[in-house]
Symmetry: D2
Subunit: 317 residues, 4 copies
């Protein structure tokens, strides 16, 4: 048997001090669909997401992310990863199927950066009910029902005050491929865009020494099909009196973006489109120097650098 493999980003488990505000933001402004509510936890997904949920939201004392869930390629990969991690002395917690509704047997462990990742294989794919179900057989919900209406989850971006190099190495052992990175003047990589899929990144990790707690989450991203959808999102956010950064286009990843914060939890969402796919098996990671950093961050448009909204992150447990 080969190495266990991760197939894709699964979901983010968000805790918010203001559940009502967060639900209004994610359901009415962003326009995610609610699969179900169980024990006060709301399970949401975009109209084009194919699994049970890509975001769970529950009430808690502070805005933070409990963990980020990833789906493995095979059922036995969950056990396979458990063994590998424990061989390396990493504590691994196991969870029975259904601990998270819609998610099968799972393990959780911490990255060197302190972020908790979950791995699972089995997942429920509940059909949408009549009235919300798409007329297309290959699509979960009707598109364009409400708000921004992105198609699917895209990636997560995490920050760490620890030495990010250790986390990049760890992630590469889990099967993440470095696709683009920023190298500082000391020769250290301080931001990396990594993926297990053919996206440029499913996961970005940035080193930020001055964070108030070691492990933070910068944003989750949902993907829309067209650039015009991002401009329409800007109108929608303004009409809801919600501030944001963008639109702008990243040099790194080439994607068009808008950054907006959930007013309930402080968790940031990147509305995202464009970019490129990587099909080459021998992809050479693209290096950006500190001199090229501004260009890599903002190819054009409203910049993400050094803006207050951009510098706030929420804690990751």
């Amino acid at each position: 048997m080969g190495n266990p493999e991760i197939a894709k980003l699964g979901y983010v488990a968000l805790v918010t001090p203001d559940l009502e505000k967060s639900l209004h933001f994610f359901k009415e402004v962003i326009g995610l669909e609610e699969t179900t509510i169980i024990d006060g936890v709301h399970y949401l997904r975009a109209w084009g997401d194919f699994q049970h949920h890509t975001l769970s939201i529950e009430k808690g004392d502070s805005g933070h992310v409990k963990f980020v869930g990833w789906r493995t390629k095979n059922r036995e990969d969950v056990e396979g990863f458990k063994k590998l991690l424990e061989q390396d002395g990493i504590p691994v917690a196991s969870f029975e199927a259904g601990t998270t509704p819609g998610i099968g047997e799972a393990i959780r462990f911490k990255l060197p950066s302190g972020h908790t990742f979950e791995l699972y294989y089995d997942v429920e794919r509940p059909k949408a009910e009549e009235g919300r179900k798409s007329v297309l057989k290959n699509q979960t919900y009707k598109s364009w029902s409400k708000g921004v209406s992105p198609r699917r989850i895209d990636h997560v971006n995490i920050h760490t005050s620890t030495d990010a190099g250790i986390t990049y190495e760890f992630l590469e052992q889990l099967g993440f491929n470095m696709r683009e990175y920023l190298r500082d003047d000391n020769g250290d990589i301080i931001a990396g865009w990594m993926s297990v899929t053919q996206l440029v990144h499913d996961l970005a990790v940035a080193q930020k020494p001055t964070l108030p707690t070691p492990a933070r989450i910068h944003h989750i991203s949902y993907w829309s099909d067209d650039s015009q959808d991002i401009l329409r999102a800007a109108d929608i956010l303004r009409e809801h009196d919600i501030d944001f950064i963008g639109p702008g286009k990243h040099g790194i990843s080439q994607a068009l973006y808008l950054y907006v914060m959930d007013p309930g939890s402080g968790f940031r969402v990147e509305l995202f489109t464009g970019g490129y796919l990587i099909f080459e098996p021998d992809w050479e990671p693209v290096e950006w120097t500190m001199e090229e950093r501004a260009f890599g961050n903002t190819y054009w448009g409203d910049t993400v650098q050094d803006k207050e909204l951009n510098n706030i992150t929420i804690e990751a447990k």
Copy 2:
């Protein structure tokens, strides 16, 4: 060692009776860039393609496609596939590196449908020269230099007068995954959308019993980032007095399309955007029945079904 694997669609080797017309069409109207010309063969790629070429064009007696090239995941996969194919009694021809400029050691063989496929691993990635090179480090050429200006090659669509079921099975052995298919009233699959990547299809195969020669190529597709690019393409084609079908949106694959024929060779190009990606490792192929066929072909817009332009295909060798 595991099974050999195919990473991605590489290129299509096109022969045209009217080289000048075909070059004008692909370079000025579609807007592909020319990597090089060697021995009268023109090697073209889109501005976002990462390899030596994705289309070669040479002069010949009739418009046809010599073969479709695919890149393997590893260097040893080329030899691996050779062994597997020969074990199954399939004749395999081997080619030295450089037989096709920019392409390493390669093998060629015929599908049961009669279409020739090439497999190779090594590929040159010549940088674009100053003036044509993008200011972005992760992009080959400047975008939007001329014509439609699509980003990258997307897929090929082939037709066969043979029993397509045999070819689907053969392709699945090569590692192609069935993503969506059309089942006729006898229970046979007569059109299949298959991929080795996370695209819905790198390759579509349709059974057309009445073709004039057994193996035909319906189209090659180039991908643009935005729906608006496809509408702009329609304007550009009209201004060049070139007829086309579309715009329309497929139900199958959910992509926005335009079909246009190279006036030199009769080879059809699909200009394409939208659609969805498949990250689920246990994707259940989406079945469309004959009753659902029209909807699957044309979710909305100018239909691809039963139009003359659509029914013409060129021979595949």
Copy 3:
């Protein structure tokens, strides 16, 4: 004092046998806002319309349009037009302010084609209430609240079984300028695109000898800002299981279109963007011959010609 002048298209008074269906279509699918309901009549406008309503809908025995209202440039123009029309022997009915809610003193009369036009000057411009009001001072409602969400009314298109030439002449006396027209092989103009504004047309009139009643309305059109909005509209209509024609681009007017029918009344709506503006004071009307007709109707895309959906019109009183 100079000639009385018409400033702009005002509103269409629609009667529907199925009020519930029509309201669902115009409010939820098209996404018009409801200004008010008075005596069972619903007054609707788009988020960017600046007057009381641009469409009124009431219940009646059959789907038809009672009249089309136009706003004059000056208050005294209403009386001015009354005099001119009566001098020509045209019966004119006068209505007190408020006969139609939001509309001041008005006159109504019939075109030679049999269509009833209303002229008025005074109009109420009720502000949108909090929650629906735009954050922009120059916009009535929040955009993108629901459905297709077009910006504003654009034009009406009427059909007549009478000699259209008489109606073109009559309309020119009212101040409509011919902008583009279709001339048949006998030398008669059988379709004319006319405007009092700088749009290519506020009003199109086509001669259709075989209509079941002499005066018909082909469609009302609402305008969106971007081509992508029309493609999104196509998705929305499909998700509501509503059939339509398009997208396509007219040669005449250069506009991108989608034609869809209100399932309640049978009244057609054209969703519309693009096109050009005419600022030249000495514009030469653009002539299209029968040979050029198909191209003029459909520059590209799903054609409006000879389709069943397109040939149905509702009666105009």
Copy 4:
């Protein structure tokens, strides 16, 4: 006879110290078409402009604008304006037809702000030659031939160090309607968006007390049909290594913008789409206060306020 009237913005006469750079910028990057070159002056227009030229470019010692030309509604209006202006003691210079190629008899005079305006009626409309001519009968050139490829001229924006109130009053006497304006805390209007057409503005005038010379030109604007065209323009400018501000959306006028400077002359171009049209004959100008100024300038996106690129203007003679 009524008052003389202005129909539309005609053209801007630009002088550049680096003709080659300016021509490359306007012809290859922006993508204007060249009607003709006479006596070293290049006459340019966009593919959808209907007159001889909308921009003339000639070589001179410094980057500046000689005058802004406006077309009147009637031939006799040129003489009519001459009389009115001279009655008010304004010096008026008369020019024979053909003084500017393609332009008939003209007069020139200075606004109180010091900017020179030209008024003319007659204009040549040379057809585009085969190869550049559109296949559409209602369009001058093929669209999308090169560069950004906007449709038509839209407006000019001028700055003055004098009391702008005097100029607003003067312009209102010429027939310009105030559509939106910015009022400062002293109650003075310090920026006004005015039009003779149904656009929100053909002309914006801002009071800037600290200008190096009294009469400056901030920008000329060309209009594109779709928001996506502006995003594509941003890519094109970056690939040409040309800096710009935007994309952003104005609150005032609601238009999507990009500001870019001609590297030859320092003259700024606004690439522009969206916005609204004013058909109401009794439009109440929209007032913006200093508190609302930032929102009015930048509804969202990369801001035009206080940026260096934005503060540079070229002299108007």
